[in-house]
Structures are given as structure tokens and as C-alpha cells.
């Protein structure tokens, strides 16, 4: 049965393998040059004693931005393609063409038939997407070193092995949709929509709760805070201040809040007391580029001068006596734990769908 499952899957497997080879060749050809661009910039930075512009922005991130986006897109899309082209037709095509009547009347129970197909192509899905992701990570490692943010919500999905979990889930989703709808094309559409929905839900609402974030406090200063004015500028605007989250390499920073030791944010009364002049100080001309009188202005302190800058500095100094910035984040060393949790989540979802398929094949198509 495994040999036959492979024989049926061979054509699609070859297409997938060919795609991987094409990506692999592109990455293998460009990879060494990418490394050399990165390394020479690092060397130039070292020679200049850290003064050169390349120390802040490695040119590799600009040279390879286009290709980097391409690689990210491929890694993001691959699981959906697997679900649509490996998953959806797996059973639906047999139902459409009637070949399930041939398959289910050989001397193999249909449960076994299903499990072998699911296992074989499911494993291939996991490996293909995982392999692609690893290749992309190897290729992009200088880029990651130049701007270390692999834990960021947008980058998490294209790093590590979580793409394998996505692929397994998308595959199972495709199989289930095909089995229930009995048609390949609608099943492909459902698979794409369902996969995108699942990814959004997990990324936006679920992932942040895998582990409680770590919080650390930071003393308030004019360099890590900003302010916002609401109301007519120069007369009776109310001001609020906010903390800027620090950039932590490869960490996932949720945000920073200004709180006192009891965890409370400054009230309007506190603000008026600490920062009486912030709302009424006259801003320098041209500071607020957008919006006319009566609209909201917002900016960080960088570049602000004159009365408003003094007012803001005074404000922060006064506030910092009782208030501090509380930064919540997931430390960089939790990256692999999060990868494992998210992969497991999608694998479990995939297994649940496989269970649904098994039940459906045994009880609904009879």
C-alpha cells in the first residue's frame, strides 16, 4: 500500500521537488555573494572604529532586499500551495473520477488506505516546507545578523521549522475539505481561505499567549519617551506621554507603558500637575506637518526645540520621580520554545483534521 501510495503521489512530489531545487539553486548561487557583502561591511565598520555608516546599516540589507522579500514570500506561500495542490486533490480527485471505488475494493481497508496516504504525503509536506524554511534561514542568516528580529511577529513564520507545521496543517485541511466537498476546485479555495484565516488568528491572537511575557522597568528619560497633544495646539491642548519600546535584538517586544509602582498610568490630573506647560507651549514652526488647528499632533522629541522641548524635558523629569517605563517582551532565547509550541499547535490541528477524515471515510461515504 505504501508503494502504491508513493506511485500515485510521485508526479506531484516531483513537481514539489523541482520547485525546491529551483529555489535551492537560486539561494546557493546568491548566498556566497551575500555573505561577502555582509562580511566586508562588518570589516569596514571595524576598521573605522565603529564610526562608519555601515556600522548602523549594513548595505547587505539594501542590496538583497528584493530577493529577501521574494524568499520570504516563497516560504509564506509554500504551505498554502501544499494544502491546495497536495492536500485538496488527495481524496477529492478519487471521488470525482470514481477511482475510490477501485481503491476501496482491493484487499485493503479504507482506513488503512487513508492513513497511508495521509502519512506519506503529510510527511512529505512537513519535510518539504521545513527544508525550504531551513534553506531560506541559512541563506538569510547574514540578513538576520544585520537586522536581528527573527522573533518579530512578521518574521517568526519564516524562521525556524514552524513552516513544517503550517504545511502539515494546510495539507490536512486540504484533504478534509476535498473529502467533505467531494470536489477539488472548491476544496482548493476553502483550503487557501482556511489556512490564511488560521495563520492570522494564531499570529494575532494566540501566539502572544504561549508564555507570559517578561517585564523589565526602565527609567523615564526624554530619549525613550514621546508625547501626544490632543486639542487646539498652543492654547488648551491636553498632553499625554508614552514610552518607546527599546529595540531588543531578536526579542519580541510587546510594548512599553508608563506606570507607577502600583502599576497605574498617570492620570490627567497627574499630567496637568507634572506637565503644566506642555499643552500650551508654542511649537516651532513646521514641527507638525500634518493636520491643521484643532487636530492631533504627535511626534517624538527628536528634533523638537525651543519651548516645547523644555516643557517636555521638565515634564519627564517630574514624572520619573514616581513613574517608570514597564517593557513587556519575550526574550530572544524563547524563540525555539515558541517555534516548538506553534509547530506542535499546527501539527495537533492537522492530526485532528486527519481524525475527522478517518471518521468521514468510515461513516459518511457509505
Amino acid at each position: 500500500m505504501i508503494a502504491f501510495g508513493w506511485r500515485q503521489f510521485r508526479g506531484q512530489a516531483l513537481v514539489g521537488a523541482a520547485g525546491l531545487v529551483v529555489v535551492g539553486v537560486v539561494l546557493a548561487i546568491t548566498g556566497p555573494h551575500l555573505v561577502s557583502v555582509y562580511d566586508s561591511a562588518v570589516a569596514a565598520c571595524r576598521e573605522s572604529g565603529g564610526q562608519s555608516a555601515v556600522c548602523n546599516s549594513n548595505p547587505v540589507t539594501i542590496t538583497y532586499r528584493g530577493l529577501q522579500y521574494g524568499v520570504i514570500a516563497v516560504v509564506l506561500v509554500m504551505p498554502a500551495l501544499i494544502g491546495m495542490f497536495w492536500g485538496a486533490p488527495l481524496i477529492a480527485h478519487e471521488l470525482e473520477t470514481g477511482t475510490f471505488r477501485l481503491a476501496w475494493t482491493q484487499s485493503v481497508s479504507r482506513t488503512r488506505w487513508l492513513l497511508v496516504k495521509l502519512g506519506l504525503v503529510g510527511l512529505a509536506s512537513f519535510l518539504a516546507a521545513g527544508l525550504l524554511s531551513l534553506m531560506a534561514n541559512w541563506w538569510g542568516s547574514p540578513l538576520d545578523a544585520a537586522s536581528p528580529d527573527r522573533f518579530g511577529a512578521g518574521n517568526f513564520a519564516v524562521h525556524g521549522f514552524v513552516a513544517g507545521g503550517y504545511a502539515l496543517f494546510a495539507f490536512a485541511l486540504g484533504v478534509t475539505a476535498g473529502l467533505i466537498l467531494r470536489r477539488t476546485l472548491p476544496a482548493m479555495a476553502i483550503t487557501l481561505a482556511g489556512f490564511i484565516a488560521a495563520r492570522f488568528v494564531v499570529t494575532d491572537w494566540v501566539r502572544a499567549h504561549y508564555m507570559s511575557p517578561v517585564t523589565f522597568t526602565q527609567k523615564l528619560s526624554a530619549s525613550n519617551t514621546g508625547f501626544q497633544l490632543n486639542g487646539p495646539i498652543g492654547s488648551h491642548a491636553t498632553a499625554s506621554v508614552m514610552a518607546q519600546a527599546p529595540g531588543l535584538p531578536n526579542a519580541w517586544v510587546y510594548g512599553a507603558r508608563i506606570v507607577n509602582d502600583a502599576g497605574q498610568s498617570p492620570t490627567t490630573a497627574v499630567m496637568q500637575q507634572a506637565c503644566p506647560n506642555l499643552g500650551t507651549a508654542v511649537p516651532p514652526p513646521g514641527l507638525f506637518k500634518k493636520g491643521g488647528p484643532g487636530t492631533l499632533g504627535s511626534h517624538s522629541t527628536t528634533g523638537a526645540t525651543g519651548g516645547i522641548q523644555d516643557a517636555f524635558t521638565h515634564c519627564i523629569n517630574t514624572l520619573s520621580a514616581n513613574y517608570h517605563a514597564a517593557v513587556t517582551y519575550q526574550p530572544a532565547n524563547r524563540f525555539w520554545t515558541f517555534q516548538a509550541i506553534e509547530t506542535a499547535l499546527f501539527v495537533v490541528l492537522g492530526l485532528v483534521l486527519a481524525g475527522v477524515c478517518t471518521w468521514w471515510v468510515r461513516h459518511r461515504i457509505t
Partner: protein, 306 residues
Amino acid sequence: MSAVLSARRLGKRYGRKWALNECDLDIPSGHVVGLVGPNGAGKTTLIHLAVGLLTPSAGTIEVLGNKPSDSPAQLSRVGFVAQDTPTYARLSVADHLALGAHMNPGWDAEVARRRIEDLDLDPKQKAGTLSGGQRAQLALTLAVAKRPEFLILDEPVASLDPLARREFLQSLMEVVVEQGVSVVLSSHLVADLERVCDYLVVLVSSRVQLAGEVDELLASHHRLIGPRHDVDALPRDQHVIEESHTDRQSTLLVRSDGPILDPSWTVEQVDLEDLVLAYMGQAGLSTRRRRNPDGGKAVSQLDVVR
């Protein structure tokens, strides 16, 4: 004579609609059985229940003494060729034989190889490029080489041209002779089956209208042509299946185990097709009478059939 297939009050329902209802049926072993009925009679449903593709909504069915299931043991005993003889279009003939070998412990590679050779099929050819007749032969090869005790074919020749039809039935008969396997094949055209069947089951609206060995059926049915008769005046052992009358003449199809003694009748042999059509017509008329008890106008039974 044991039954290869027996059904008791067998029913299969889809939603509210019964595709097969209250079906009682026994098919003896050692025969090539033609299962004939109009479209929608429930033939395919019955067959799918027999091979375990469907499970009954009501009643019971036994095949080779067991409930059909998807257990490997039961599956290996029954060979099945589904309607339109599905095969994997993108796989080659050789791939299909490999499929059979992988999925059937009792696979007879020699039988499969010889059949493919005799049929002059190229093992490398994709099944999708085979002609309808070749595809049917490939499907039959798969069903036969698993060495079943019982072979079920669902409308195997319906979509074939007359030549392919004849060749298919010929090779089926070769299998029957070589392997001594019991066979059921369904069709809505009795002409397809006439040449190969020695047992006939006529199924109309889930009911068995007629079942028996072809020779006996032909011997016990007669067409009587004579001056106008009142059918109620016939001897008791003569059952009228079909009647048509003109002002002066009556033509009857009767079932009678004894000889026809009334000399005013001209007695003619019936062929299988007439017989089946008569029984289908009878079923159709009884359905119509049930719906319209007053009768209204007299309907010629043949009109109902045609």
C-alpha cells in the same frame, strides 16, 4: 445450492429518498447472473452494498456468508468492476498491475500478465489514453487477478461499442471457465447479457420481479396468439404476464409449468428480451394502477414499457 448473495428487507436511504427499499434477493453460487432493471431500479445501490462501499440503512445483506465490510479478508474474496470502469488516468497499465499486487495478498501476477499480453496492451501506456474497451479490460484484469470467489460487475459494457462489448464479455466468459468464479453483472439492457448469463434477476423499483435460471425461464414462458380470449378463463396454472387484445385477437405472454393444451392458441417461444420487458412492464403498470386506482383509460402494457 448456497447463496453468494442474499438480501433481506435490504434498504438504503439518502436523506429521505430510498434508493433501495425492502429488497429480498438470493443469488445462488456457480452462476453467471444477469441483474437487469431499468435505470433507477436500485441495481448500483444493491451492488455497492454487496461490495461494502455502502452500508445498509435497513435490513441485512450477506455476501459469501458474511456481512460486506471493508475488512481485508472480506474484500479479498470479492472482485469488483465499478460502473464506467474507473482507472487512474495518469498511471500506466503496469502501475495498475503493481497497485493490484501491492493491495491484494492473493494477487496472481501470472494471470494478470497473461491477460495484458492477450489483450495486446502496452504496459507503459497511461490508462487515461486507453480506449473505453481497453480500460474496461484493464479493470476486469485487476478484479480477476486478485483471485476472488465472487465477481461483481456494475454495467461493465454500458459505455462500450458493440465490438468492445463482445470482446469484453468473451474474456469474462474465459475467466468464468478458468476460475469457476460466480459472477453477477448488471445492465439495463438484457441484450448485453443474453449471451453470457445462465441466471437472471429482474429488479424493478427495488423489487425482484423475476429470478431464475435462464433455461427454465424460457421453457416456462410462452407467447400465445389466438382468437380473442377472456384471460380470466385461462387454466389456473397459466399466469398472464402481459396481454394485448384487438377486436378479434388476443396475444398473451403466460407463465406455465405445464404444456399449453388449448388448441385455439398458437404457441410461440419467447426470447429473453421479451420476457424481461414484459416483467418490467408488469411492474410499471402495477405501480401506475396503485397510483390511479380507478384505472381511467385502459393502458396497453407495452406502452408503459416503451
